[in-house]
Every structure is written in structure tokens, then in C-alpha cells.
Symmetry: D3
Subunit: 262 residues, 6 copies
């Protein structure tokens, strides 16, 4: 294992079979990988660290065990925590404290989106509540046929019907509406395909891959003309990379290009 990647609720390893690929596993299978505060704080640490690790170029995110990617919020742990209590009795002070907690929770989940390396989530079994938030923050999503989604906690779902009725839905519906990119027979196959995608991405120029992620994230939240303007400025430096020549040359010489770390 690479140094400094020892965490309590997540396994992080670097399979020798997939160079430059990191594997993050949610590691609380006995509780269906459900989350409480310490876990999402650690999740942020994991992705902040991977974001700037030059030996990582793509990340696969999975849940331990057969039953669940994550069953969502650990309601029992949460009800004992600060989120639903607060100390104050004044509603305004209570609201202030809650907003702090919510903002921190959001910041932990979006660490996956902010992460400069592409993240591929492989979902299976129960994938409730913040499973949706976590996988939406990922760049690519694949799933096993047995996946069971739900938007439970009532927060900002991805379509009105599902959010307003809070009903569950399966792999095929998720594929049809574009929530996942692909469906595979079972967890093992979904994870296997996720690693293939990760390996493919990791074999490209990291200047190109990480720039593409940044530009796509930017473009999603801006008008087309704003996106083009940002792209032009970004690429005015990025296209000076020597990786362009490496890639062109490798194409001509029909060999696999190698790229320096970023």
C-alpha cells in the first residue's frame, strides 16, 4: 500500500494489475456501509489526498460486501449526533448550527467532484440516500443488475417524481434515465468493468484527462459561450504540453505512449 493511505472506514489500495489506478472501498459492510459523521469527514480526507497524488490517474469507488454500496445515512448514529439536536434552544441559533453541519456534509461529498482525477463508481445492492449524492459526484457510474436505488432522506434528488415520491427503482430504470452509464450482471462484473475503464483513462495523458474533467465540470455550470472562453484560456497553456507530441509520435510509431506524472 502506498504511504499515508491508512483510514478507518475506507480501504484504499493500488492494484498492481492497474497502474495509476486507486481503489477506494467503503468498509463498513456489517452496517450495509451506512454513513455517520466521522465517515464523511474521512471520505473527504481520502479524496483530497488522492486529488493531488501524482501517482494516481483514475479512481474506482466501491462498497464492501454483497449487500450494499451504501444503505445511506446511519439513522441510529445520526439521531444520537449533533445534526438533529444542536445544543441551542433558540431556533435561529439552532438553524445556524445546522447550516454549518449541512455545509460541511456537502463539502465532504463534493470532495469527489473536486477531486482532480476521474472517479468511477461501481454500485450494487442497496444504494440508498447519499449513495445517489456520492455517485452523482463521481464522473462515471456503472452498476450491477441487483442495484436498488432510493432517495430517502428527502434531500435534493435527481428528478421530481423520484424525489417527491421517494420510491425505489432498479438498474434498468437507472440506465434508461441516464443515471448510470452501464449495467452488469453482478457486483464482480461491474467492478471489473469499472477497473477496465479506469485503466483506459489512466493510460492517457494526465494533462489531457485532468483538463477534460475540469473543463467538463466548468461547462456544466456555464453557458456555451462561457465554456468556450474558459476552454480557450485553459488550453492556451495545456496545449503547450509535450504530451501532444508524444501521443502523435506514438500513433505514427504504433506503440503505447508513456506520459510524465502531473
Amino acid at each position: 500500500m502506498a504511504q499515508g493511505y491508512s483510514f478507518k472506514y475506507f480501504n484504499v489500495d493500488f492494484p498492481s494489475s492497474s497502474p495509476y489506478v486507486a481503489h477506494v472501498e467503503i468498509n463498513r459492510a456489517d452496517k450495509l456501509n451506512s454513513f455517520f459523521e466521522d465517515m464523511w469527514l474521512e471520505l473527504r480526507q481520502v479524496f483530497d489526498k488522492l486529488s493531488t497524488d501524482p501517482s494516481v490517474r483514475a479512481i474506482v469507488l466501491t462498497g464492501a460486501g454483497d449487500k450494499a454500496f451504501t444503505a445511506g445515512l446511519d439513522v441510529k448514529a445520526a439521531s444520537q449526533g449533533t445534526l438533529f439536536e444542536g445544543g441551542a434552544s433558540d431556533p435561529a441559533r439552532k438553524a445556524w448550527g445546522m447550516r454549518h453541519h449541512i455545509v460541511e456534509f456537502q463539502d465532504c461529498i463534493t470532495a469527489i467532484e473536486r477531486c482532480e482525477k476521474p472517479v468511477i463508481a461501481a454500485l450494487h445492492g442497496f444504494s440508498f440516500g447519499l449513495a445517489i449524492d456520492i455517485s452523482s459526484a463521481a464522473d462515471i457510474r456503472v452498476c450491477a443488475r441487483d442495484v436498488k436505488f432510493a432517495v430517502k432522506e428527502g434531500n435534493y434528488g435527481w428528478v421530481k417524481e423520484v424525489a417527491l415520491t421517494a420510491r425505489t427503482f432498479g438498474a434498468e430504470e437507472a440506465l434508461r434515465v441516464g443515471l448510470v452509464n452501464a449495467v452488469y450482471e453482478n457486483k464482480a462484473r461491474a467492478v471489473e468493468e469499472a477497473f477496465k475503464l479506469a485503466a483506459l483513462i489512466a493510460s492517457k495523458s494526465p494533462v489531457a484527462v485532468q483538463g477534460t474533467k475540469e473543463i467538463l465540470n466548468y461547462s456544466r455550470d456555464h453557458t456555451v459561450s462561457e465554456g468556450l472562453r474558459y476552454t480557450a484560456v485553459w488550453n492556451s497553456a495545456a496545449l503547450q504540453t509535450t504530451d501532444v507530441n508524444s501521443a502523435l509520435l506514438s500513433g505514427i510509431q504504433k506503440r503505447t505512449p508513456t506520459f510524465e506524472k502531473l
Copy 2:
């Protein structure tokens, strides 16, 4: 019928079989439920009233008769009205008057979107012109297999091809492109399913449901980070609701929770 819901062009009733659900029916079947100025002014009144009625938690919108949800604008009535005439001969004054009419028309249709309660449109038969606008303003759309859509009046359709060619299309295409959430065998079945959805939504906490609608509407028009910021502030008050405890407790006690009016 609840008090104050007597309208000329719309039936509004509250089926005893669906607590907290209002049923709005466009009631001009002999003219294929086509619209003229007085009707859209009344449509706004209907939804403004339902929006703040605490005994309503979900709304189903249908068209009377077998033939049409609505055939769109009543061209004959419109051509006698003020929209295409205006009194003035000066083109600039005419434009000023027209803009007033258009803005008021838009404001009447978006009353459905502004309505704080989720609105489910059940479409069937001819669903032309402003049927698209009305159902787009709704939160959930289901339809009967016999539905026939068209964007006729030339205004801002949902995709370029359909808007530019003004061609008609049916239920399956509408489902494929995500214009409707589901297709059912006929009008009766579509309406039945719409009521099931409405009943399901009406059984949830109105604090959660109406907050979710507000947040989803907000998020559609803002960046992801803006959406998260608004959600955090909103929920800092909303999560103080006693409904959270009611829901958790009911879950543990395996009984149906009940929620105070909002």
C-alpha cells in the same frame, strides 16, 4: 366540494378516496378544452388558491372528455380578442400592448410551476400547443397511449426539431425523450395512476414535499454550488421540523405517520 372552489372553466374537487389530493379538470370538452384569455386568467386563480390551501398536498390535472387534454389555443376566440389586434396603430405602442398580453399569459401558465404543491398532469388525446407549456410547468407528467402532441403556435418548444418542424408525435416518442414519465393504456388508467402518485406524495410530510419542490425548481436554474448553498440555508430551518421525528418513530413502530398541515 371545499368552499371557494367554484370556477367557470375548471372543475376542482377533492375526492374523498384521496385525502389531501385536489383534482383540477379543464372543463370545455365540447371545444376540445381549447383555451382563450378568460380561461388562462382563471387557471391562474385556481392554482394560486390551491398553492396556499393547507388541506391540499398534491394536485392532479386532467382534461374533460375523451378527445383531448387540450387542443391548444382557441384560434377563433383568439383572433377576435386583443392579442392579435391591439388598438394602437403605432407599431411600438402595439408591441408594448402585446408584450403586456404575453407576459400575463406566461404568468398564468407558470402559476402551475409557482404552485407550492406538486402537480401531476395526466394527458390524453389531442395535447397541442399550450398543452406542452402547461404540462411542462407541472412536476410530473403521465399520459395515455392515444396522446397526440404538437407544438403548434410556434412558441419555444422543448426540442429544436419538433419546434422547427411543428410536427406531431405520440406517447412512445414522448416517453423516450423524457417528456412524460410513463405511458398507460388509456385515459382512465393514466388518471388512475396519477391519483396513486398524488396519494403517495400526499402521505409524506408536507414540509419535506413542498421544500423538495422549491429546491428542485431552484436547482434547475442554478449551478450545482448555488443549489447546495440554497439547500443548506433552506434545510437549516426545515430540518427543525417535528416531522423528522414523527417519520423516524413511525418507521420504528411500523405504523403510518401523520403530519400536521402546513
Copy 3:
């Protein structure tokens, strides 16, 4: 051929069978219609000219030959050009020059989007790299079953997976994700259907069609309420057109309306 439409890399003609329809063909079949700087500068000229030609109401864009709509950037030509070299040795001056080149390249491609007339792209065979950019700038896209897409140059793709992995994909996947509106048996059929769409659009009021294109482009990049506000101002003048009466009258008299040039 209409006057002034003599270009080096593009055939522009006006089929007598389709009144008001212009046909633009990328004409470098021996190089798989791949692009270099002079070509995209000319592409802008073509569409800037068609944009304000009152005898044109719809445009069909195709690629010459059987093999490709366009294979993308002509890497060989590009590597000899200014884009990847620049004269300066100072990285900041080099970035300044590159930004100029990129902005001009983007401006040439978006000439298709800025064009006031609807553009229908009929794609077939290799449709790599800037084929995606060009067809995304078009209003409607149809393709032949043999089409083969890829996002190669690494810049601003349409979904993360495809952009990050740079993998190829075919007609059915393109249809499923909404990249193309329809798939046809082969190039001949795709082009035929593109002309039918163009003829249908060209038969409508140009005031309505060009206004619809402008409003749809505007609405895509703005919130719903901003879109409605712009539409109201736009239509305050547009609805004063005599074309509304012509269309209504023709409907009553069951004959085809004719519309003045715009």
C-alpha cells in the same frame, strides 16, 4: 448555382427540388473530409453568408464521399501549421498566440450555431473529433447506421465517459443518448430525410422559424424566467407579422401559405 457561393473546400448548391433549401457539402473526400485552418476559416464564410441570404430558409450539411462525414482534424496539416508551434519561445507569449488561434477556431465552428437559418447535419461513416463539435452546433442531427463517432482531440466532449476514455461509439448509442435525432439505413437515406426536414421547415413562415431558433438558443443558456422575458419582448414585434394572418387564412382555405422573404 446562386451567385457568390464559390468556395474551395465546400460545395454549396440550391437543389431546385427543395425551394429555399441550401446544401453545404464538405468537399475533401480523398482526405476523409479532415479539416485544417483554411477550411474552418472558409466554413465560417459559408455560414455567415447563408445566415443573411433571404432566399435560404433551411440548410443541410453533409460530407462528400462514402467513408466519412469528417475524420476530424488533419493532424499532419495541423502539425505543420501555427497551432502547435507559434513563433515565440516565451511560454506566456506562446499561450497568447494559441488562445488567439483557439478562439478563432471556436468562432468558425459556432458560425453554424449563430447562423440564423436552421441547420440539419446528416452524418455517416467516420465522424470523429470536430465532427462532434460541428454537429453539436447544428440544430438537428440525423445519421446513417454506419456512422462511427469519437471524441479524439480531447477537448470539450459531450459526456464524461466518452470524453475521458476517448472510445468510439455507433449510431444506436448516439440515438439512445440523444446525440442524434434519428438513424437511417445508409448515407443516401439519411441525406434524403435531412432534405425532407429542411423542406418542411422551409415551407413555414421564416419570421416564425428564425425567431424560434433564436429563442431556443437563448433559452438553452438562460433560466426559465429569463427565457420567458426575452420571448415576450421578441414576440411583441414578431407577432405583428402579417404571416400569422396568412397562416390562419391558409388553414381555413385549406391551401399552402406562401411567405415573403426575410
Copy 4:
């Protein structure tokens, strides 16, 4: 007095000396013109009515009596009203009700900004709390030397220092920071000058004046290029007005132009 302008808390009259000018006076001098809920609801009625009255082209807004334009919120009345109570005990339901009240209050104040005719506020004496909000919503502000401003109720004033310290300030400071356009010796003089400005505006083409107000309001909230785009569409109809010729002709003939109502 023009018909239909009978209000309880506001005098609305049309001085014969100033054609096309309406005078709105806050009329609760014994309570320093302080506001409570019924008053701001009526304020909205006043300005909504003037907005579409074709015989009005400019509006002067003043406060009755010598002591105050308005001392702000009537705290005593407010503390008995619904704003600070609400019926519900659930903090989330209470927040929902409060948001309703606040949104309605905001909507009443911004009726002045939405009003299609230019509004000139003439301030004097105590001008506390919502005096700032009301005059900010006006288009032009003049004041008497004895004016005394403060941001009291704790709501989002116009600069951080004044908002955060809630300190009072006078006419000269208001002029220096651009809060008011001009300072005059006393209330009589300020009101006199406000009427002169109103008369000058009322003598111009209403197509030009009301278009200018709309465009300036739009431009304040948009980028420069968005403002230019909106202006172009707006003026494509507005410049067709016959008022342009009237104004040019009057200039050549050296006589005062007259313009039709809008």
C-alpha cells in the same frame, strides 16, 4: 382626482400644474408615516394601478408632514401582527409562514421598481428602515437637508458599515456615496425640484422613457453583452414608433412635441 384612486393610507393626486405627473403621499403623519402590513399591501395597489394608467408618465413620492418621510416599520403594530408570531409551534412551519410574509412584503416594496413609470422620491426628516428600501426601489432620489437616514430593522442596507453598525447619517453623506441625486434646503424645495424633474420626464416620448426604465433595470442585473442583446431586441420594435419622427420634426420646427398615450 382621477377615478379609482381613493386609498386609506396614501393620497394620490394629479396636480393640474404638472400634466401627466402623479403625486403619491404617504399619509400617516401622526405616526411619522410608519408602516404596518395593511399599508404596504396598499402601497402595492397604488403603484400597480399607476403602472398601467396611460395618463401618468412620471410619479413623485413624498411623506406627509414636517417630521418624516417614514420612520420605518411601526414596531408596535408589527409586534401585534403575524410577522413575529405565526400560529405554529413547529419551527419549520413557522419558518414557512414567515417566508410567505417576507416575500409578500418584498413584493409590495418592489412594486415601485416594477412600476413602468419613473418614480422620484423626495425624502425629508426621519427616513429610517424601509425608507431606504422604498427609495432604493425608486428611480431618482432627492432629499431635504434635514433628512436623517438609518438602517434600523437589521435588514441588508446598502453598505456594510451602515448596515453592520446601524448608525444614522445625513444628507451630505447620502449625496457623497450616491444614495441621493441632490440635496435641497428643505422639504418644500426638495418636493418642488422633484416635480420639475417629473415634469421634464413627462414631456418626453413615453415610448422612450418607459423603454429606458425597463432597459436600465434589466442592464443593472445583467452583463454588458446581455444588456446590449436585450436592448437590440427591445429597440427593434420601439424604434418603429412614430414618436421618433415627431421629436425630429419638432426639433427642426423648434416647437414642443406632443406624444400619444402609451
Copy 5:
């Protein structure tokens, strides 16, 4: 005179006393430098050319003669032109044509803003109508004491009072509200100071100066955090310039740095 700078309505010269400074003079003194269509088309050509001329680093813009910077639109010429006529009789087609004219006019004026080099306007005498638009598009404005401003054409003024009343105002008021940076005794002194500013700017690194102009233009139209994000990407290439070292070294060696062309 540098090659290619021969224009009909503008003098463009390069004073040997001010290296890297271009002087653009509006050259129609007998008509108070008033504008008609051919002039603003040429204005765009002038600034588009200067924008990419590497031997220019700052531009001074003045009006010929003693009486006026520009008296605005040449009403007589304009009334004979296409702007107020159009050929069409259909109001919608007329509006379409007018919008084209207005957009082109706006594009000509904003050529000054788009120009990559800083532009300093030195105003004197009559500075009416589009004098405001032209100088607002400039980066820095100085004026002579005899300047007389007015917003005449009625569109897009800089403050409501001045725009709504169309009244004139002088140098001191322009300085107070920030419309001009400085006021000088007469035209000669204003032009002299404009050249001093231009020379000072021209002595700095063009990488820094032109980057600063781009970033300031961008930041004006975006939120603070958007501005910071753009700045970071921009500077990631710009700070690699060798000019940083040149400037630091010159500071240490107490000599004037020289910078390569951009």
C-alpha cells in the same frame, strides 16, 4: 505612418515621441465629428487592426477641432439611411432588419472594449449621445473643463436621472460620479495627459497590461469567485513569462526594463 492605417474618417498616427502609442483622431470636425453608418463601420476596422498590432501597446482617442469630441449621431445622415426606414412594410420584418442594424452598431462601438490594448479617451467640447457609449467602452477617460455631455438618443445611458431627463452636464459632475478619471484645463492639456498615461502603460510588460485588461473586463461581468477562478487559469500561463524576471532584474539594477512584442 505605419502601413495599412489609411482611413477616411479617422486619423491614425504613431507619435515618435511616444513609443508603442497609437493616436486615433475622429476626423470630421466640420460636422462636429458626428457619426453616420460608414463611420462606425470604419471605427471597428481601426480598433480591430490596432488590437492585434504587436507594435501598439496603448491607444489615445480624441476628436479633431476645438468644438467637439463628437456631437453624437448625425441625425440628418441617419434619417436618410436605412436605420429609420427599412424596406419592408411588415412590422416584424422591419424589426428583424432594425435588430440587425442595431447589433452591428453595438458591435462597432464595443470594438473599443474588445480591443486588447488599453484605450484612453480624451474628451472635450460637445460630447453627446454616442460619445458616452464610445468613452464608456474605453478603459480610461479624461476630459477638458469645457466638456458638455448629454445622453441624447435615449438608449442605454449610465444613470437613470440623466438617461430619463436627457439633460446635459459638465466636467465637474462627470468627475464626481466617476464618469471621467480626471478633468484638465482645456483640450490641449487633456490630450497631453492622455499621452502621458498611454506612455506610462506602454512602458510596462504587454503580457501584464493586456492580461490585466482582459481580466478586469471579465471580472466586471462575473462574481468575485468566478473572477478569481478565471484569473488563476489565466495566470498559470502568463506568470511563466520571462517579463517577470526582466522586471525584477531591472528593479534591482535600477534601469528601465524593455519587453518583447506580444
Copy 6:
């Protein structure tokens, strides 16, 4: 001194004469308080900590010594650091590293803006380069008469003239253009007045003060209607505070209110 506030480059103390007020002093007087990387990283730590310390309600920021608030970037230290070097030789990798450094630098400075408590900067002597950035991030700025501003490092100053010419300017000009709120005779007086402002703010309800700062920061970057919407949601919880009653009651009883910590 309160616990945990031991820093290397900043003195943080809590004067007993000003309850709830924190004093942050830049403490590198021998180098004119100039900054290098470790300092701005520590600056962020200081303000992140004060932001959530419930015993702090307002902050005064000053520079140690008589000569300077800060002379800006420590060029010598910077030239030895990573900002201008980077390890990589590939311009794209170098740009990537630089962007990281710039984003982190920006994040450290904006910690002052993100800080939930109002920050008052008291400037004196040399206030160059990032002195402008730091004080712009503060909420209120006062200065001594001897202050000497400049925008030196070439980064995005507050007006084009000053940014493009990089010239210095003094207290009176800073006051005139609104860069500072007030000018005092010398540093001692400026600091004294800053503490008076801080004490005044600290005596108000922290629910009101911190909410006002948040809302003002939000409103600066949004349209008026967006600002009103956010304010309504925010205040729906904030106005439930018991501080409203405390303030009203204290007003009636003519005594100083006290407020709970937040």
C-alpha cells in the same frame, strides 16, 4: 490571551476594553510586514479559527510598526519559493502547478471574506500589492492620512487606471473613490476608530450581524431578485431568534440588551 491563538507571523489578542472584539496584527514590522507563502497560509488559519469562535463578534486587522500595513509580496522570498519556479520543465505541467499555488493563495486571502464575523482593516503607511486584496476582502476599511497605496504585482486591481498604470495614490483619493470608509490623522487614531466601530458591532445581536454579512456578501454577487429570494429564506429562520424580543424589550426599558453567543 484566549487559548489556541499562538501564531508565528500574527499577533491575535482580545483587548479587555473591547468585549467580543479580536485584534489581529500582521507582525513582521522589520520587513514592512511583507508576505511570503508561510504567512498567507497562517493568515487563513487565523481567520478560519476566528470565524467559528463564538466569543468573537468583530475583528480589527492592523499592521505592526509605523511604516507599513504591508508592503505586499516579499519579492526576495517569493523568488526563492515555488511560485515562480515549479519543478517541471513542461509548460503545461508548470501551469498546472502554478494554478494550484495561485488558487491556494486566493483561498488564503478570501478567508477574510469567508470569515463569518465582520472584519475592519485599519491601514497606514505602505499598503502595496496584496494590501489591496486583503483590505478588499475586509468588510470595512479605515486609513491613516499617511497611507500610500499601490497595485504592484500586476493583479486585478480595483480600477483600470490604477491597475494599468500601477501608480501610487493616497488617502484622499482612496476616500473619494470609496476604497476606504474614512481617513484619520495617523495610525493611532485610525486603529482607535476601528476599535470603536468593532465595539459598536460587537454590541449588536450576533444573529443579526453575521446574517447581515452573509446576506450582503451574497447580494453583491447576485441580481436584486435573487438577493431578495435568499434573504427571505435566510430570515425565515433568523427572525425566529429570541434576540428580536430582547432588542425590542431593551428599547422600551431603555437598557443595553445582551445577546447569547452564536
